[in-house]
Structures are given as C-alpha cells and as structure tokens.
Symmetry: D2
Subunit: 348 residues, 4 copies
C-alpha cells in the first residue's frame, strides 16, 4: 500500500429485514442496509424487524426538520449586543434574500440567541431540502455573517461556528430547539407475539426500560438520552447510506418510551436529531460511492419527489431500524444469559 494513495475501508454490509413502516412519509416494506464490524447487529435488528412487521408495522411520524449553524460576534458590551440582536432578529426576510444567493435549497426559518458578557451567539436555523445540509448552512452562515458585519459595524467577528449549533457533540440544545429530522416510531406488540418471538413479556420490557434506560443513564450523568444502543444502529445505517457518521454523537441522544397497554406492549423510540440526507457528500456519483447510490435507490430514496421528500423518507427508515435493534436488545436483556449467548453465536 502506497502511503498517500486513497484506498478503501471495506466495512461488512448486509440488508436486513424487510420491515413494514406505516405513516405519512413512508408506507412501505423496506430492507435496512447496515454496515458494521459488529455483525451480531444484523440478526438482532432482523428479529426486531420481523416482530414489527408481524405486529402490523412501525408507525412513523416526522415531527420537525431543520439544520443549524451558530456564529459568534462581539459587541462593546451586553447592552449593545442586545440592541444588535433585537434589530437582526427582526430582519429575517432580508436575511433570507442573502441566503438565497448561496443556495436555492437553503431557507432561513428561525434564529435563537445567547448573550454572555459582551458576546452574541446567534443560532441560524434552516431547511435544506434533501441535503443533510452541513455545507449548505456553513456557506449560508458565512454569507449572513458578512451581511451582519456590514450592517452592524459595531459587531466584530469571533467565530463562524460557535458550538451552539451544535454539530457532533452531545448537548441539550439540539433536542430542545431542533437539529436534523425529529422522528418518532411507535409499535404496539400483542402480548402473545412478545412472548413467542421476543421470549419476554410486556411488563419485563417496560421495567427494564425504566431501570436501565431512564434511571441508569441518569445515574451515569447522561444528557437528554435514554436508550440501550441507538448508536449501533445509527452508525451502521449511516455508513451504508453515505451519511456523515460522526453525527451519531447527537443522533444517539434519543428516548425509549414503553408502556403496557391492555396487556400488550407499546414500544416507541423518539429520535430528535437525525442528521441525514440523500444528496451531497458521500452520496455516490462523481466520488464513485456506487454502493451508497444503490442502497439509497433500493430503499426508495432516489425517486423524483419534491425537495426534502427523499431525505424525510430516509430519516424515517433510519429511525425504524433503530426501533428494531433497540427492541430486540432490550428483550434479550430481560433474560439473564441471552445477551452473551447471542454475541457468541452470531460472531461465529
């Protein structure tokens, strides 16, 4: 291997499923492409997919979508920072004209601020069509920043990215103000199915979710997160579909909520921060990532649709894969010994 050549890391990949998804964005049965070194993930997600399909399908709801970038400016003092903010935040229409010069897909939808001493943090929130939007919002933020510095000479540049965005860090702001697609997936599993296929009971899953995901994570000092292993499914799905997989850091901050309802198991995953796209970096074409292109096509995310539709479909399928894997692992952990047995079995 010559040291400077571009080569490849061929991560094992498999299509798992199909899983039935029902809802406004997706109403379909889809295979789940998962690329991972942790191959026991495949049968685990597969089991969840079978149970979900037998239970009538995963109900998926897309709650919100936006992509953000924060900039940092400084004024002479807090009073002047506040005055500038009050003026800037009233000029969103003008700002959108600036944004349009940088991209025909970016659309500025909201602003939030933080003032600390004389520093003014502005969080810019955009819709970005079918792109996850990292570069689109950085470019738009640069244009907006130039415009702001021109209009408000009393402000000075500090940073084009100020960690109040926030990208690839586990924080609270993304869940509270939104970043990426916010998707909820729900499933009602009849008791009999729960017992036969998951070898557990609704009560056991609910109990484990409370004691492990909710209380256990809290004891560990977690932040806005209550799940067993969202990160595993996200990584595998992101790698297989050409996403910037470092976004699993915030993507994995999600919540399992489960209840016993009339003897059956209500099981849901809420994922407020899925940063995914069907166009842009790593999505095939000139970069030669044909497998990404093929995977996106296979799951129906390369169709001719209105801007954003393909990306919303992708987010929902991603969230469904998370539900399948989470359900399966939690069920396994209600039974002492099953977790390791599965690992030992599947890794061979």
């Amino acid at each position: 291997m010559s040291q400077h050549k571009i080569t490849q890391a061929p991560i094992p990949m498999r299509l798992v499923g199909p899983v039935r998804i029902v809802g406004d964005v997706v109403d379909d049965s889809v295979m789940l492409p998962l690329a991972t070194y942790e191959t026991p993930l495949w049968p685990s997600v597969g089991r969840g997919a079978r149970v979900a399909t037998l239970a009538g399908g995963i109900k998926a709801t897309l709650i919100d979508e936006r992509m953000t970038r924060s900039i940092l400016l400084e004024a002479a003092d807090a009073s002047k920072a506040l005055a500038a903010w009050q003026s800037i935040s009233s000029r969103i229409d003008e700002m959108n004209m600036v944004v349009r010069e940088s991209s025909r897909f970016a659309n500025l939808i909201n602003l939030h601020n933080q003032i600390v001493g004389n520093m003014l943090y502005i969080r810019l929130e955009f819709t970005t069509g079918d792109a996850s939007g990292h570069n689109m919002v950085t470019l738009a933020a640069e244009k907006l920043q130039d415009w702001i510095l021109g209009e408000y000479p009393e402000l000075k540049y500090t940073s084009i990215s100020a960690n109040f965005c926030t990208d690839k860090k586990a924080t609270a702001v993304n869940g509270i103000l939104g970043r990426g697609k916010n998707v909820v997936c729900e499933l009602l599993i009849p008791r009999e199915l729960c017992e036969r296929r998951l070898k557990t009971t609704p009560e056991a899953v609910v109990d484990l979710n409370i004691k492990k995901n909710l209380i256990g994570t809290m004891l560990a000092g977690g932040i806005r997160s209550a799940n067993a292993h969202f990160a595993n499914m996200l990584l595998a799905f992101y790698l297989a579909t050409g996403q910037d997989a470092a976004n699993i850091v915030e993507g994995s901050q999600g919540i399992v909520h489960a209840e016993v309802r009339n003897g059956d198991l209500y099981f849901s995953v809420s994922l407020p921060n899925l940063i995914v796209g069907t166009v842009g970096n790593g999505k095939g074409g000139s970069e030669g990532l044909d497998f990404v292109d093929e995977n996106l096509r296979l799951i129906g995310c390369r169709e001719e649709r209105a801007p954003g539709e393909n990306a919303r479909r992708l987010a929902v399928i991603c969230a469904a894969s998370v539900l399948c894997g989470e359900l399966s692992l939690l069920a396994a952990q209600t039974n002492p010994g099953e977790l390791m047995a599965a690992h030992v079995k599947f890794e061979r």
Copy 2:
C-alpha cells in the same frame, strides 16, 4: 445485489502524516490511517501533523485504562442492598477468581455502586489486555453476576447491562471514573510556526478555544466536553483500524486546553474515553478484514509485546490524530472565510 448477502461499504481511506509522537508509550513517527466520507479531513489532519512534527512532536501520556460493565440487582429494600454491596465490595479477590474462568486477560480492578430505592447498580471495572474489551467484560460480568446471585440469594437479577457502564452514550461517569484509555496529548508550537503554517496567532487560538469550545459547548448544554470536532477524527481512525466506531459517542467527550506560554502556543487535547483494541472483533483474520490488519501493522500495533502494549500504542496514535485535526480546524476558524474555502477546495 442479492438482499441477504454480506457485501461491503467501501469507505474512502487514506494515510495521512507522518506525525512525530514522543512519550513513554510511543516514540516514533507514524502515518495516520483515516477512513471517511468527509475527505477535507485528510488535508486538515495533514496540516496539523506537519505543524506538530515541525514543533518537535506531540507529547503523549497515557493516564489510565480500564473497561467496564454495570449490572443491576434488586434487594428487598435499600438497607439490604447496602449490606449486600458492603459484602460484595470486600470480596474482590474471590471475584477475580471467577473472572479468570471467563478470560485469561480480564482482571477486575475496581467496583463502584449506586443505590436508588431498593436497586443496586454495580459498575465492574477491568483491564482487558489488547482488546477493547466489550465482549470480555460482558462475559466476565455474566460470570460475576451468576456468582453474586449464588452467594447473595437475597438479590435478584434485573439487568446484565444497566447503562451505568456506560457504553456508547455521552454521560459524565466515564470521564469521572474512567472507561477506555485516558490519553493526554500536548504540543508547544512556536509563535513563528503558528503564524507561518497555521496562519494564526497563539492568542487567537486560545481566545477561540475559550469562546467556542468551552463557553459555546456549555451554552449548548454539553456534558464534560469542550472541542470543535473530535468526533470526526475518531470516526475516521476507528473505521480504519477496525474499532467499534459507535464508541465515538463517548470518545468524543474530550477537552482542548490551550494557553499562550512565553508567546508560543501550548495546545493540548485530553481524551479520557478512548475505547480501542488491537485484537478482537473487526481486527482482521478470519473475518477477512485484511485492511485493518494491514493498517494496524503499518502503525506498529501488531508487534510482539506484553499484553496491552499494542492497544496503548494504538490509543496514543489515535489521540495524536485528534490533536492534529483539532488544531488545524481551530486555526482555520480564527480566520473568517477560511473554513468554507477549505471545504469547497478539498471536496472537489
């Protein structure tokens, strides 16, 4: 593509560097293997590597290493949970005999507990030789749990993994009690080098680190984290070396500390939670992941050494790659316009 066949996700990979590292664990110049869809990362880390090498090399210190798993048991009440804990925590030698039956590399080194109501969370801490240790500690935890349930019939099983471990979630416990390798990398960059190669000043980097990484992340509601993009380098390095890359979630919780010292730039990254190994899952051999094997060999992590030495070397090289990429991005962000220009340039 047949839907159930195992195929591959061929992520673009490149060797970046070399970078000079000095210290007890590594004293060498190494190339950094980075697999990523975000190809601007390569020149960015490359610039950091050049600067680091010109500055005399990155000083790397391995502070600690351990791998953990938490189990959850229940007693009749808190008083009985406490009594059980007091007894269990006094029998670590006996417990280690149980551990030895499951692995010759696992070694139980410490226990921590949490009692909530009548629930007893026990965090088991092990050294695991050259393996990252996920499976090793799960297996050991299962054996220990069986032993505890046998010795303390007043306790009952709740979960083999209780999120107080904590694996692939961003929490505070791993940084406070330790999980994975804890590595600090430091660099002293002469002002002249800073200005010539990074196009910035020590003062500008220090200022940006405070306002973006420390204050910006805090405003976002971050937890034990202050950096710009540790996650990017970790993902690329983990994928290239066969690691379980979902561990970037906690791995990316690290801290940049920078100071102006006698006019020069002191720049450090502290990474308390690097979960890496040179043997085990995804490390080549029977699974056919030859590229991982090759990369590990190339960076000198396949040598005949005492157990654990190869993995410690790997952790230090990983941390060095993080320093290079972080330094380069922060320097770029001190200059308005440079960030996007770099992205636009390198992505073409």
Copy 3:
C-alpha cells in the same frame, strides 16, 4: 414552643454596600440586603461593591424576561400529538383571551413543545408583571389546559406540571429558552485598582476563571454553569427580599466571563434565570413580613412604576450583588491561604 404554632427562623441580615449600578434599568447607588448564616459573605460582597463603585459602577443589561409552566397531554399516537400541537400553536391569540380571565398581568408570549412517543409536552411562556409569577402561570396553565382539553378532545390530561418548565431544578432548558429575568452585569476594573484592592492581577483572575469555573465545573459534569459561588449571593438576596429561595437551584446556573483588556480586567456575570418579583408571596403586607417590605423599599423597588419595572430593577440589583461576591472570592482564591484566613477572621 408549641409544636404547631407558626414561629420564625430569624436569619442574620445585613445591608452591604453601597454599590453603583449603571444602565437602562438601574442608574443608582444601592445597598444590598443579604440574609445568611454564612456571615463572611458580607465583607466579601462588600469588598466587591467597593471595587465596583470605584471602577465606575456595574453596567447592567436586562436581556429577557418570562415565566413558564409546562403541561403534559397524551394523544393516541405521535401523529395525532403533532397534529394537535400544530393547531394549538397557531391559536396563541385565542389562548391569550383565556389567560386574561385568570389574571390581568399574565400575557402568553410563546409556546414550545416536545413530543416523545404519544406524549405532548407544551411549555407555556408568559410575562407576569412585577410578580415572579409561579402562581400566576400555574393558574393560567390550568385555564389553558382546560381550554385545550375542551377544544381537543383527542388529548387527555397527564400533568399540570411536567418538569419541562422547569422549576427549581438545574437543567439546560431555562438557559436556552429563558425563564425568569436574564441579566448580564459587566465591570471594567483598572489594573491598579485590581492590584490595590483585590490584591491580585487581571491575568490571575482570568486564569482562575478558566481553570476553575469553566474547566473545573465541566470536569464535575456541570450543566450550563461556570461560577464559583453564585448560589451564596442569590440565597442571601432572595431571603432578604422575600423571594422563593428554592429558585437558587436554577438561578445559580450562570457564567463568569473575564478577559484582560488593555491590561485591565473585564469581569462579567451572566445570569439567565433570576426568578424574582416585588409583589406576591412573601412580599410583606398581610403576611406580616414587614422586613421584606422595608428592604424592597430601601432598594427602590416599591415605587409607582409601570408593571414589571420594579421587578426588573430588583433583578438587576440581585445580579449586581452576585458580581460583587463572585469577583471578591475569585480574587481571594488567586492567593493561596487567603480563602481560609477570610473565613476564620469573619466568622469570629
């Protein structure tokens, strides 16, 4: 002492200062009433007040104000929760008519939501005149909840207070979305004054703030907080002015930002969550808390002014007292030995 009689806990109280405050809300010299068992606080705040006054006064800016309550409702599924939210959030004018029935001071200014599974959390944000507003927003939330349940029979009641408010807990939401008065206080201290009166240098204070308040708190797993002892001043000021002092829990989540500017010390405290009022519970009158009444009058917060003006004045004076105490303690801690000496001296 008869066991069921109402008696009193007579906490030691003292007027400290005066301190000069300059800004739109307050432009005045005021004494600071501080009730505390920790009597070394008095001379400590007093020193800060003297330095601040000599430096030309504390520049105070009121950034924002609002009071919140969150309610929790449930729909059949996430899709129906989303549909209800979209409708509710478009009817804020109608909702305000409902609010007016419960109070002539409460004004609904914004709504935020969270959807988890089929649960809909709604955060209601109000202005509340001169009251801190705990009861006013609870009453308004009850009226709004009744109205919502009437208009949206597909929703069912879960809780009138759902911890997404959030009252008397340390979280991220209050700082990000606002709760209480958001006040920034700034001071520029000439180097000479810093050295003579605080026995330290601008550089030493800045260095300590970074290493203790910013990095130290982060290492401890803090959330949106970077200060040495905001809680002490807040408690003493809240008790002396009849506030609900349990609100120091979130009130103490604030940030010190300090810099060396042209050789002088820029020192600021940012307090985004001051829950204070000049009317309502514990503010004298029928409850016989005459001392509260007297203290409020003494600091000029009992004047005839437009609704909200007295409360804003109170918040700014409170924040100024925090600056004085924080500055003094940080200065002391730059000198080994001074902290304890002060305690030993003042407690006698």
Copy 4:
C-alpha cells in the same frame, strides 16, 4: 433601620408532623421544622407525614457520607502530573497525619483525580464528624496543599478550590463519587390508604413519576435528577436547622423511584448529596441562633452520641421530610385542578 447593623430576616417557621421513621439511624416519631415563605408547603408535607405514619413509617437507610474539596495544581506536562498523582495517591496515611493537625474530626478517606493537559485536579474526600464540614475540609485542604507543594516542588499552586469538589453547583460528580450524606427513604403505601388519604392510585403516581420526573426532567436537559420539588423541602428544613441552605443546589439532585407492588404503592426518594451538620456555622450558641439550637434539640440531634451520629440522624430526618412533601405533591398532580386549589387555599 441603620444600614450597617446586623438585623434579621424572620422567615415563617412551623413544626410539621409527626412522621414515623424506622431504620438503623432513626427509629422514632419526629416533628419536621420547616421555615419557608411558601406556606402551602406545611399542609402538603403534613399530609405526606400522616400517610407515611399510617403506612407504618418511612424506612430510612444511610448509604454513605463524606465531604470533599478539590485543589488544582499544575505540572510541566501531563506526564509529570501523572507521576505526581501516582506518588501522592499512595501516601494517604502520611496525608492523614497532616490532616489531623488541622482538626481532630477530619479524616481523609479517599482521593480522586482528573488530568487535563498539564493540570492536576485532586478531589480530597473526608469524614467530618457532626459538622457538614465546609470549613473543616477547606482548612484540611490548605494544609494538604502546603504539604504537597513542599513534597512535590515540581507542582505549582493554581487553586484551593477547583469546582471538582463540587460545592453548590448541580453536577454529576457528587452523585457518582459522593458528597454529603447519601440517604434513601422508602415507603410502602397500601392501596386503600393511597386512595383514601392521597385521593389517587398507586398506578397514577407511578405513571406521573415516569412521565414528569424521569422523562420530563430529561427533556429539560437535567443532570442526575428526577423529582418534582425536593428543593422546597430541603430549603425549609435547612433554614430551620441552621444549615448552609445554598447546598440545596446539589442536595435537590435526587431521584424518586416508585412502583406498584402487589397493588400497593412503593415510593422512594434517594438523596445522595445532603450536606448537613449539627455543629458549626449557624448552629446556635455564640451566634445567638437559639431557634436552631431548639429545633435541633427537638428532633433529637443534640444528644450525647458518638461523633457523626447526630448529623446522620439529622440527614435521615431531612430526607424523610423530602419524601413526605414529594409524595403529597405528586399525588395532587395526578388530579387536574388540585394543585392550584391547594395553593389558593393554603396561601390564604
């Protein structure tokens, strides 16, 4: 009122109860002294106390106790910081001889560290007899710091208190490593009692606790906390018994865990960070705080006992008051309308 005179803030105080407590530390019926402006707290805690007593009493367990202070030192680099730490942490016996010179009650029991760049944070953990120990550990830390700086001239002083302690801030470290008394209080409430006296069902309380305290606080970005209003009871109890009430900031980070057990309600509060003492600042005597003395005597915390026994008793009674108030409020919130009705009623 002369402006510089020490006067008093006479906070309304009442004895509430009695409540029956059973366990190793307390086996008794006690009145609860509560000083507060929020007078509806009295009947609310009172209702909880009656229910708890009727249910057979609160089972209280003291899990742990310690008081901490962190110091911050710097070495030339991380490697030297690590070497110093390894040596220091092996000399705990010598260090305890130094501690004994500062106090006959302080006893160093453990050390923890954090290394960031070249900085060494050391968390010193002590037992402190019947004192809460703020001053005792500060004094001991100063002595230890002097000793360390003498023994390790390669280290230099940065701060006597480095926020890794951590005092009066909401963080994760205190719950994970311990600070103050760690107390669990449990109660089993027969269904019939729950329905008759609390006007609710076990199922409703359990459901509300999950959705409000666990999930709601998590959504808000809370840290290691799941309760409705621990802060209220803590403030009132701390003020009435002469505690440093600013410690409610971390004290209120506690967890409610409730379950339906055989149709009855298991209800527990876990409070890992109660900073309380029966001697020291504000505890009567020379400072003339006779009411504190009287309250402590009344609840049996002024007896001749082994050092630490009175303080442990105090912590357990404090935690019991928290259980009573939390139970009562949660029960009220399961019924729409009851919360406000109670406030309106009791405040008149």
